[in-house]
């Protein structure tokens, strides 16, 4: 049998909780700061227009910028993809009234000025501010509903004491991915929302598998403390956790590297999600569940005392 993790592995994860909690807290806070200050929202959410253009001839960015400037457009241009592709992304800043007109004019002028350079307008995205606001709202709603649905499902299938752990872990994962997006200047687009939901699904998957074992432990080894049961459950599932993360990473990293520009950012988020999600199942969901359990015990103890006093 080939093994990555030894069969009798027994790591006391609970001993790391203080350190990991501090690390996680710092990362989450930093990420939230990044999210609210530095996040680069894509055209989907910000509203505006983007034109993706490709030339057959060797057109350089400065020339393109010069032409756009001479024609009197307020357009940001950047090169995308490999340098040999002569492919550019133009961001048109315009207000709602003339967004359409300006975008059409830019396309028209480029088609005319670069006619002999094999110009090809590959993609045009125009999103009015209203649509942008709408997309922002529904993206947020989708994530919120996913969290609520997962919380309820875990509560029903396991016990509601497990729900907060899973939710805090998801919140942790999503905010760290967003933080990394903010600090690396990766655009936040509709695809990012899709990737985040996939990560939510993946990460909770990880958590559920540990919980499943904890439940088994609760039944078999009821004399152990919950903390020990959780440690055992994580150890027992550790090889599965690492193998699955590994195979998913094989896919997401190859897609990130070779899948083309259009899905690069998507798989960047997925790859981060697999890493953070694996970490959070062990070091976030578990300790929060322990804390919830303690809190519940303390609270029900209080309630019992209260009842006693009444009687």
């Amino acid at each position: 049998m080939m093994q990555i993790i030894k069969k009798d592995i027994n790591i006391k994860f609970s001993r790391h909780y203080v350190v990991t909690a501090i690390v996680s807290l710092i990362l989450v806070i930093g990420s939230l700061v990044g999210l609210f200050t530095k996040m680069d929202y894509g055209v989907d959410f910000r509203g505006g227009a983007e034109i993706q253009v490709k030339f057959q001839n060797d057109i350089k960015l400065p020339l393109l910028r010069k032409v756009l400037k001479e024609e009197g457009f307020q357009v940001q241009a950047q090169q995308i993809g490999e340098p040999g592709n002569h492919e550019f992304l133009l961001k048109v800043a315009a207000n709602e009234e003339n967004l359409n007109a300006v975008t059409e004019k830019v396309s028209g002028v480029l088609n005319k000025d670069f006619k002999s350079d094999g110009i090809e307008i590959r993609k045009v995205d125009i999103v009015g501010p209203k649509a942008g606001a709408q997309l922002r709202l529904s993206g947020f709603q989708a994530m919120l509903w996913a969290l609520v649905a997962i919380m309820v499902y875990i509560g029903l299938r396991f016990d509601f004491k497990y729900s907060p752990g899973a939710i805090v872990a998801l919140f942790h994962d999503v905010s760290i991915i967003l933080g990394i997006f903010a600090f690396t200047g990766t655009e936040f687009t509709l695809q990012t929302v899709a990737a985040l939901l996939a990560v939510i699904g993946y990460s909770v998957n990880d958590t559920v598998i540990v919980y499943d074992r904890v439940r088994e432990q609760e039944q078999k080894f009821s004399h152990l403390s919950l903390s020990e049961q959780i440690d055992n459950a994580i150890n027992e599932t550790l090889s599965r956790t690492i193998l699955t993360s590994g195979t998913t990473l094989f896919i997401s990293v190859t897609m990130f590297l070779f899948g083309g520009l259009a899905i690069k950012d998507f798989f960047f988020a997925i790859s981060l999600g697999v890493l953070v999600g694996t970490y959070s199942s062990i070091y976030v969901a578990a300790p929060v569940t322990l804390a919830t359990d303690k809190l519940l015990r303390w609270w029900s103890g209080e309630a019992n005392e209260g009842q006693g006093a009444k009687a």
Partner: protein, 570 residues
């Protein structure tokens, strides 16, 4: 082998064969004429085959305004008819979502009676809001607003569909989203600019009488006065918006004669094709005859000038109105107005019977005019949009980009899947081979479902399939690690496999349901390509549970049977 095994095996073979049938046309790139029994192929999304995706929004506040305004005349007419002297007041847009209009009652003593009459004649349409001395304010009822919204939306979709059908796009998709949005998807459309202009044109055709009493000088002075108050037309602005604010301003300033409005004829220079002049007109408000009375609209060519024009033919009722209108107004000018722009304003020399009229076009070369005439005739035939639609979102993708994306994504998926296969083969040996078979089946099932459900494969959809492979391995790993554990505990191979599968079942279900919950939320949120991701993710989950768990179990039972429980390579 047990009998139940054979049942399950037969089921797998049937499912497998059906799936293979489904994907063969796509895989072999069969044409529609081939003799193969299955014709349908995987539908590629807009992002992969190129095309146009649009979200159009309806600004109902403006629709309410028009509706409220249009009742003012009717209300005043009815009240006067009932002996209550009253006059049309003005529009109040303080609450933009609920505009109101006032009616000035001549004798304040009559106010109660007037309210009763209005209630009697316009039940469930108009509701009274406030009164101020002799002035009554009314707005629309909630019921009426809902009716307006529903009608506008349904009618708009119908009109757009008519136009697109005439334009000729295969498999267009035109659906409403919420109560005030229309989503249009035109896959593979080539002439995107033309498609856009065809869809966006309101095509509201009206015939209105010109008031020649107002001099050009005074009209020009009004426009200047409006300009001084900041009402000015700038390029890129929507002309109808300018016209609306201008007319509101002129009415408020009491410059326009009662029940009149301004309209413009835009003249375009033949040489530079740029807007050179806007000729102002004062026309009677209220449309005598409109585009809904049209029977047909065709392009014809004026032989003398060698210029195309659009000839109009009215329905019988429209022809009668046209005849009366021209008969009553001999010597005056009648403006032909399309979407608020005056196209021409010919003088009526005599009563015109036969129900025919024509629209002459601006300028430009013959080809340009011809194109304009063709599109104009098309939109007039297809009918006018009941409301102005705003482009809220527009995404166009060229065909080459999609082809590039498919190529790259497929290449990367193959590398990724290859790595995963290699890994599980090395790590789990023969069991790994079983896992590999279940994974390949899984992909076949997902693709077959896409064909079967006529779902659309988008780029994020391909991402979803790739991700499914990654996550499907998880189910295999959960089972195999469990079996290994049981073997270590000293169970026989046969027993270990059985216990492993039994224990792993709920874990796999739980893990997949939580992912499915996220997928469902995404499906609900979904716009275009993103929906495609949710769809493949959800199909992938169902297919994973079947292939990794049930097919995996089937194959393991066979394996155990072959080795008689003596050997297990895992």
């Amino acid at each position: 082998m047990k009998r139940s095994w054979w049942y399950r095996f037969t089921f797998l073979i049937i499912i497998g064969l059906i799936s293979a049938m489904m994907i063969i046309p796509t895989a072999m790139n069969f044409t529609a004429e081939s003799n193969f029994p299955v014709k349908s192929k995987i539908t590629l999304g807009l992002d992969l085959q190129g095309g146009l995706y649009m979200v159009l929004g309806i600004d109902f506040n403006k629709v309410y305004e028009d509706e409220v305004k249009s009742y003012a005349r009717k209300v005043a007419y009815i009240l006067n008819d009932q002996g209550i002297k009253s006059e049309i007041g003005s529009l109040d847009k303080t609450i933009v979502t609920d505009p109101t209009h006032s009616i000035v009652i001549g004798d304040p003593a009559n106010i109660e009676k007037a309210k009763e009459e209005i209630k009697k004649f316009f039940p469930s349409i108009i509701r009274m809001t406030v009164e101020n001395g002799g002035t009554l304010f009314y707005g629309l009822t909630k019921v009426q607003k809902t009716t307006i919204e529903e009608q506008a939306l349904t009618k708009s979709i119908e009109v757009i569909r008519n136009r697109i059908d005439e334009f000729g796009v295969t498999e267009p998709e035109i659906v409403s989203q919420g109560s005030n949005r229309i989503v249009i998807q035109l896959p593979g459309v080539k002439d995107i600019e033309r498609a856009k202009s065809l869809i966006g044109k309101t095509a509201k055709l009206e015939f209105k009488m010109v008031n020649d009493q107002v001099s050009l000088a005074s009209m020009n002075s009004w426009v200047t006065k409006a300009k001084e108050s900041g009402i000015e037309y700038k390029t890129g602005m929507r002309f109808s918006a300018y016209l609306r604010t201008l007319n509101d301003f002129l009415t408020k300033e009491k410059l326009l004669p009662k029940d009149h409005e301004m309209a413009f004829e835009k003249t375009v220079s033949k040489a530079t094709n740029e807007l050179t002049q806007m000729i102002p007109y004062v026309v009677e408000a209220g449309t005598k005859l409109s585009g809904d009375q049209l029977q047909d609209a065709r392009v014809q060519i004026d032989q003398q000038k060698n210029e195309p024009y659009v000839s109009l033919e009215f329905k019988a009722s429209g022809a009668k109105i046209f005849e009366e209108l021209t008969g009553e107004n001999v010597g005056r000018r009648m403006a032909v107005i399309l979407d608020g722009n005056v196209y021409s304003a010919p003088s009526i020399r005599e009563k015109i019977g036969g129900g025919r009229a024509q629209i002459t076009l601006g300028a430009g070369g013959f080809n340009k005019m011809m194109k304009e005439a063709r599109d104009l005739a098309l939109v007039l035939r297809a009918g006018a949009l009941p409301v102005q639609l705003n482009f809220e979102e527009q995404r166009t993708v060229g065909p080459s980009l999609g082809a590039d994306s498919i190529k790259k994504a497929r290449y990367a998926s193959l590398i990724g899947a290859g790595l995963v296969f290699l890994f599980i083969l090395i790590y789990y040996k023969i069991s790994g081979a079983i896992a590999m078979v279940t994974l390949i089946l899984n992909i076949v099932f997902v693709l077959a479902c896409l064909v079967g459900f006529e779902a659309t494969l988008t780029l994020p959809g391909i991402a979803g399939i790739a991700l499914t492979i990654g996550m499907a391995v998880d189910a295999n790993i959960i089972i195999y690690e469990r079996i290994r554990e049981e073997v270590r505990k000293g169970l026989s191979f046969y027993k270990a496999v059985e216990t492993g599968f039994a224990h792993a079942f709920w874990t796999i279900i739980d893990a997949n349901i939580t992912t499915a919950l996220a997928g469902l939320c995404l499906l609900n949120f979904g716009t275009g390509p993103i929906r495609g991701f949710a769809v493949t993710l959800l199909i992938g989950i169902v297919s994973t549970v079947y292939s990794s768990y049930f097919v995996g179990k089937l194959l393991f039972e066979f394996y155990m049977n072959k080795t008689e429980g003596q050997d297990l390579s895992i």
